[in-house]
């Protein structure tokens, strides 16, 4: 499959081994290394390279950004054939603008977030971008602390309007400069941000449920 013509083939680009035994590969600072780190007994895995690992991504784009921002670009890797950048929050907005204007990433596929409560910078804010001209996908990631807000990308890609509203709705990350930042999937007046890890799976905003739906138990 012709995905990213500019990136080097990662070691996982070879015919994939049929054995799906997960081999520990290290990525960035995610907590909870899985306990089952036993090496596979199967002979097939012993001679193969150690499974998918993020590989540094060399490209003119990365070189340009590194030249411009230096340490702001924390990582530029390729994992399983997908390129991603990890940036400092302060420069991310500018980099996104550069990506849209100069690097032809004119389609913002998605904006989303992930919550890592044990980290100091708890939130991962992720943009998935695509360039029609180059047929390339790119992920841009940045880390935010709890309560930190981020400039909105609506001026760059109008599609992020609802996408950022959903991130706000689910995680509580505020976007400065968003024209209409309010909840989108949950009702107005709901308290709590469900996709955070400290929000229970069957937890609901009981007060809202009681007042608006008239259900006494609040569920």
């Amino acid at each position: 499959m012709a995905e990213e013509p500019k990136s080097p083939t990662p070691p996982s680009g070879e015919p994939k081994p049929p054995a799906g035994q997960p081999i520990p590969g290290s990525v960035q600072s995610t907590p909870a290394q899985k306990p089952a780190e036993k090496a596979p007994e199967k002979a097939a895995a012993a001679t193969k390279p150690a499974g998918p690992t993020p590989v540094p991504w060399e490209s003119p784009l990365v070189a340009k950004l590194k030249a411009q921002y230096g340490s702001g670009v924390r990582e530029a890797n390729t994992y399983l054939g997908q390129n991603y950048l990890v940036l400092e929050p302060s420069i991310t907005n500018e980099v996104l603008q550069i990506l849209r204007d100069e690097e032809e990433f004119d389609y913002c596929v998605d904006v989303t977030a992930a919550h890592y409560p044990k980290r100091e910078k708890q939130f991962d804010l992720i943009w998935i971008l695509y360039s029609f001209a180059r047929n390339q996908r790119l992920r841009v990631k940045t880390m935010l602390a709890d309560g930190e807000s981020f400039p909105s990308s609506v001026a760059i890609w109008p599609t992020t309007n609802w996408l950022e509203r959903e991130v706000f709705d689910m995680f509580g990350i505020k976007f400065d400069g968003h024209p209409d930042l309010k909840r989108i999937l949950l009702p107005e007046g709901w308290k709590g941000y469900p996709l955070r890890k400290d929000y229970g799976i069957i937890q609901q905003d009981e007060e809202w449920v009681k007042t608006n739906l008239g259900i006494e138990s609040g569920q």
Partner: protein, 384 residues
């Protein structure tokens, strides 16, 4: 509950009007219960007489917290939940998720499984487009195509039922391949379907394509330019009808699509009629793909060697497929345990629905319903 003017704050309403008669602007609510909004969607329209000045969509009535559920289920346990999002095209949802997790696990489904996946996915694309055609025509006033398309969709649902037991939310695929071998007579049934359906598609076209009233209702209605589509992130037949020849099955192929020959239909104007024509032609192209697939299914296993307890290595992956409605993407983050750390579903209908505002500005109220129909949204996917 809440004052409607707060919803429309971004439409520059200005001072609230003193009396109803003073203003020449009317705020009308197309409420969550409405025969034509294809699910629970609330659209607040700001009108000047009959002309639409702005819209605001209120969604979330069908929000079920699918992404949160994913964090509490193992990878295989989450598979059935995925069908329930775009319940009309459940097979595509399953395909996207299984392929995303397979990427994460670094395994590939065997070729036979890929062919079966393609056949079922394309059948589902046909079923989804048929349902779209019936409901869209019904909104515009033509009552009869609905019954014709549903009757023909029955044949597809019968094949699904014979294959995996369910008609609508099929859970057809598993991570690593397919669980069920094709049943005895699968190829024969599919070939019979391939012969049965093209005259039916001709019948739908005969009723609508050159019908003068249909042309007047759909030409120049809901126009959106290619640049707007790209900026708004609109994908799928809407993007193709605006002239952009882009289909993930060709641009970033997955499953067995590289081995098939098919065309990508595009339109010129980006109006409702073009979207109608694009989808009709997509139906025919789907038949072409199915024919190629069913004539060349390779022998072999249908399931890759997947561990019983799936623990993908720590990492994240984004994989998207061309669902009938647009680009359906799965962003799966694994922390090495048996349960995904985060599953984000990038729903095509959610992003396409944003474009509603741009598409109906300056059009009449009756067109809003036509445009909602032509965007082909499924609220299960919009809200998840």
């Amino acid at each position: 509950m809440t004052d409607p003017t707060t919803y429309l704050s971004h439409l520059e309403l200005g001072e609230p009007d003193k009396t109803f008669l003073d203003s020449n602007e009317l705020i009308i609510n197309m409420g969550p219960q409405h025969p034509a909004t294809h699910g629970v969607l609330r659209v607040i329209l700001k009108l000047d007489g009959e002309k639409v000045l702005g819209t605001e969509c209120v969604i979330g009535y069908l929000h079920r917290g699918v992404e949160k559920i994913a964090e509490n289920r193992t990878y295989t346990m989450f598979n059935p939940y995925v069908d329930r999002m775009d319940y009309v095209a459940a097979v595509s949802n399953g395909l996207g998720y299984c392929e995303a997790v397979e990427k994460l696990l670094n395994i590939q489904a065997p070729p036979r499984a890929n062919y079966i996946r393609v056949i079922l996915t394309e059948l589902n694309r046909m079923a989804s487009h048929q349902l779209w055609l019936g409901t869209h025509a019904l909104d515009i006033g033509a009552m009869t195509p609905l019954f014709y398309t549903f009757r023909d969709r029955e044949e597809i649902l019968k094949i699904f039922e014979k294959y995996c037991g369910a008609r609508l939310t099929t859970h057809a695929f598993r991570i690593g391949g397919c669980q069920y071998e094709t049943y005895e007579g699968f190829e024969r049934d599919v070939k019979k379907f391939l012969d049965f359906v093209p005259p039916r598609i001709d019948e739908y076209e005969e009723l609508l394509t050159t019908n003068r009233i249909w042309l007047e209702r759909t030409r120049n209605v809901g126009k959106i330019s290619a640049a707007d589509c790209k900026a708004l992130g609109v994908t799928g037949p809407v993007l193709r009808a605006s002239g952009v020849k882009w289909d993930i099955r060709k641009a970033q192929p997955y499953a067995a699509y590289p081995e098939f020959q098919f065309e990508i239909p595009t339109g010129a104007n980006g109006d409702t009629y073009d979207r109608y024509m694009v989808r009709m032609q997509e139906m025919r192209q789907s038949l072409r793909i199915i024919r190629q697939a069913v004539e060349g299914i390779p022998e072999g296993p249908i399931m890759a060697k997947v561990p019983k307890v799936m623990k993908p290595p720590v990492g994240e992956v984004y994989h998207s497929i061309e669902a009938p409605k647009g680009e359906l993407g799965y962003f799966v983050v694994s922390d090495g345990s048996t349960q995904p750390y985060r599953v984000r579903v990038r729903p095509p209908s959610f992003v396409n629905l944003q474009a509603l505002d741009v598409m109906v500005r300056g059009q009449l109220v009756a067109d809003v319903i036509a445009v909602i129909g032509t965007l082909d949204i499924v609220l299960g996917e919009v809200d998840r």
